[in-house]
Amino acid sequence: MAVDKSGLVFKPMDQFVVKPLFGGDHVGLFTVTNVTFWMALAVVAVVAMMVLGTRRRAIVPSRGQSVAELAYGFIYKMVEDVAGKDAVKFFPYVMTLFMFIVMANFLGLLPMSFTTTSQFAVTVVLALMVFVTVTVVGFVKNGTAFLGLFWVTSAPLALRPVLAIIELISYFVRPVSHSIRLAGNLMAGHAVVKVFAGFAAIAAVSPISVVAITAMLGLETLVAFIQAYVFTILTCVYLKDALHPSH
């Protein structure tokens, strides 16, 4: 992304640079960076919303309590519908995932903020946690019968080895697509906003650019929620596979 002849500066990817928060350039294992800061802020925001929001337990809920109750009911119904009744004991995990991702996404929409979920390091850890959990739960619940997930008994016998290979590959690609979908969507959206912001420097197109930024931010608000929803619902789908591996 170079400076072109008209003096326009496009640096849409600069917003994703991980920097130490308290000076210095070295990012070590325990350095407090803008990523960790905004992740911590997301956790604090979730706690404030869920714990403080429901503390009064009013029969006629306040606005904060309604939001907390709606989120709870929404995820609970999703787990029950998609993953089945016996998956409800994983509800706290799924709820935590959803609230963290949705809050991190929404915090990323604030001006001058940092979108933690646009970092592959963050989403890969989230997706790997889901992958490991699902695999362990699958084997603990079903024993070797979990491998029936790869052995499609409804297909003709000659096809089954081929299908087993395809199923195996698709199983191990899950954490990859699971994490890259979230980070890629968030990163692409924010980069597009920055590109339009770069156009705002030209006087002739700046009104269009401002309108475009507004529209993109509206779309990004939608994407922020939908991607958190998709991440959670795929977690539920994987959990269903682990609990009921037969096709």
């Binding site: 519908d81 697509s177 890259i180 979908r181 890629g184 969507n185 692409a188 998709v230 619902i233 789908v237």
Partner: protein
């Protein structure tokens, strides 16, 4: 020269985003067509709709990722 070829490659990878757009449109359009035929069954299928959109979109995101890698990592 190689850097310029990488930029051309990134542009070619962006075609994948368009292909993913077709896929997402296909999923959403077919959902809408089905939902208008049988509106009472539509609400129960929104989860499937989003899963379908997510799968179609993921491949476009992969091509976006390839474009990013070509631009910044090669």
């Amino acid at each position: 020269m190689e850097g310029q070829l990488a930029h051309i490659g990134a542009g070619l990878a962006a075609i994948g985003s368009g292909a993913a757009a077709i896929g997402v449109g296909n999923v959403a359009g077919n959902y809408l067509a089905g939902a208008l035929r049988n509106p009472s069954a539509a609400a129960s299928q929104t989860a499937t709709l989003f899963i379908g959109i997510a799968f179609a979109e993921a491949l476009g995101i992969f091509s976006f990722l390839v474009a990013l890698l070509l631009m910044f990592a090669v």
